[in-house]
């Protein structure tokens, strides 16, 4: 992530600019970009997200780390989740989605939209798969709990 992008995201996180303004600024940094800069940003307070400066890192794994305390989960002792998924498996999994029949894809899209996930599975084609994975490689989401809530969530590629 380059310095300009970081500054924009920090301003967004600090509430100095709106998400729309941040999107415009990020788009201005990459005039050749056709995708929306906010495609992979989270709406959770305290989260940072965005694509990198176009440098291909060729990350091998997607990592998801979660640490939650007893107050958050209601369980005894801390709860931790540490998942590492090979990017190759993600690619294979998305390709496998092509086996979902069209009718089922439509139902899946409807169900996802109903639950607030604006994802259209039927639009994920092999030709834009690589672009999707490339964007995912630059994804970083950090969420820290507030008000005494010690929950931490990190999603990143390595």
């Amino acid at each position: 992530m380059n310095e300009n992008r970081r500054q924009i995201l920090e301003m967004l996180a600090a509430g100095k600019i709106t998400a729309d303004e941040a999107e415009r600024l990020l788009a201005a940094l990459e005039p050749d970009s056709t995708a929306s800069a906010g495609d992979f940003t989270g709406n959770t307070a305290g989260s940072h997200g965005g694509r990198g400066a176009g440098v291909k890192t060729h990350a091998k794994y997607l990592r998801v780390l979660v640490e939650a305390d007893e107050k958050m989960t209601g369980m005894k002792g801390p709860t931790t989740v540490n998942v590492r998924v090979p990017m190759q498996l993600l690619r294979a999994g998305v390709r496998l989605a092509s086996l979902i029949p069209v009718q089922a894809q439509e139902q899946l899209d409807e169900a996802l939209n109903r639950h607030g996930v604006p994802l259209t599975v039927s639009q994920i084609k092999p030709e834009n798969l690589e672009e999707l994975i490339d964007h995912l490689e630059d994804l970083t989401v950090d969420v820290d709990g507030k008000d005494g809530n010690a929950t931490k969530v990190r999603v990143f590629c390595e």
């Binding site: 091998k60 794994y61 989960t73 369980m75 005894k76 002792g77 801390p78 709860t79 931790t80 989740v81 540490n82 998942v83 590492r84 998924v85 090979p86 190759q88 498996l89 690619r91 294979a92 999994g93 390709r95 496998l96 092509s98 086996l99 979902i100 029949p101």
Partner: protein, 90 residues
């Protein structure tokens, strides 16, 4: 490359299973024999899936092979409520 070893560890407050290293490569040979035995059923399922999705049967086999061979490097470690589960595929 298809996964060769899986590591499994399960622990709860009352029981701690020692970490198991499962040699998956030893499973592939008997599994291949089983696949040969049930190949007529697999072929029917494959053709049905191909007709349903409009994807070539060879491509379907390739897709599943891709998933299988991409599993190496997967790591899942969950600790909750005093229980711990670790799964690693190497």
């Amino acid at each position: 490359m298809i996964p060769n070893i899986a590591v499994l560890e399960i622990e709860n407050p009352h029981y701690h299973m020692p970490r198991l290293w499962l040699p998956l490569f030893l499973l592939w040979i008997p599994l291949a024999l089983v696949l040969i035995l049930i190949s007529p059923l697999l072929l029917i399922a494959l053709l049905a899936l191909a007709m349903l999705t409009g994807v070539s049967p060879w491509r379907i086999v390739a897709l599943f092979w891709n998933v299988l061979s991409s599993l190496s490097g997967t790591h899942v470690h969950v600790t909750a409520n005093g229980n711990k589960v670790l799964v690693r595929i190497l």
